[in-house]
Amino acid sequence: MLLIPCPWCGPREEGEFAPGGEGHIRRPEPQAASDQDWAEYLYYRTNPKGLHFERWVHAAGCRRWFNVARDTVTHEIRAVYKMSENRPEGL
């Protein structure tokens, strides 16, 4: 069980949250994108062993989406930041 620090509510139990997959994925410009670009946008994910940037929603709490930088090996949460913010440097 993870203890996830919601940027609004503070630390809450994992059961209050729902994961939303990898974060910072940009939708390509439809006219300019090749089939490969679309395929990568829709289906390709980084799936790293280690630091992963992902989205979570505080579903049973304030119902806001936010970003989490989590280590997929240790489950350590290295950073939590709001949807409007960029990936933190130096993690």
Partner: protein, 197 residues
């Protein structure tokens, strides 16, 4: 056929009196606060509309997450960065919704959600222990005190919890369809403390 007049009815109204009552002189008391007026309020807390809402309510909205403000039978609970639950006495919701809508001047939204939930009040020296049986929130007084609120789960039911005083007393807002389940769960969870005072 005469038109049926809709009558507001508590989701616990069908339970027998004996199942609904708990005495106040015990370490845990439970009572329903049925039919409270509940308004969902959406607005930018930093806007001028928030100042007008403050005048309409008679007190300011909470400035911090998971805090509640209130006065004279009304309260406002933080639900999100631009979302609040305004609680008022039964029957007072329509008039308050109108004055809040007027104060917002289309810079936000107010929605009457009174029928969606009921409120159960749980109070007494062991009330915290009963809640802790089914809730993952840290309710220790160094973390959670009177004037704070939180949305979370209690025995898997989705709730809004508001600590109203230092007895400690809590108001548990529960969705209508889970109200009977949660009431019976609370009665059962409180049973072990009922003998001890």
């Amino acid at each position: 056929m005469a038109d049926a007049v809709p009558v507001a009815r508590s989701p616990l109204a069908h339970l027998p009196e004996a199942a609904r009552e708990m005495r106040d002189d015990l370490a845990v008391s439970l009572r329903e606060r049925p039919l409270l007026g509940l308004l969902n309020l959406r607005l930018d807390a930093a806007s001028e509309a928030a100042q007008r809402v403050k005048a309409a309510l008679g007190f300011g909205l909470p400035g911090e997450p998971n805090r509640a403000t209130g006065e004279g039978g009304r309260s406002a609970l933080w639900l999100g960065p631009d979302e609040y639950l305004v609680v008022t006495e039964p029957g007072g919701e329509a008039a308050l919704a109108r004055s809040l809508a007027e104060a917002l001047q289309d810079r936000g939204a107010v929605t009457d959600v009174s029928d969606g939930r009921t409120a159960i009040e749980i109070a007494g020296s062991r009330a915290r222990d009963v809640l802790a049986t089914g809730c993952s929130l840290d309710l220790h007084p160094r973390v959670f005190r009177a004037g704070q609120c939180a949305q979370s789960g209690l025995a898997k039911a989705r709730i809004i919890l508001h600590q109203i005083d230092d007895r400690p007393g809590y108001r548990v807002f529960v969705e209508r369809s889970h109200a009977e389940y949660l009431w019976l769960w609370l009665m059962d969870a409180a049973a072990e403390y009922r003998a001890a005072t």
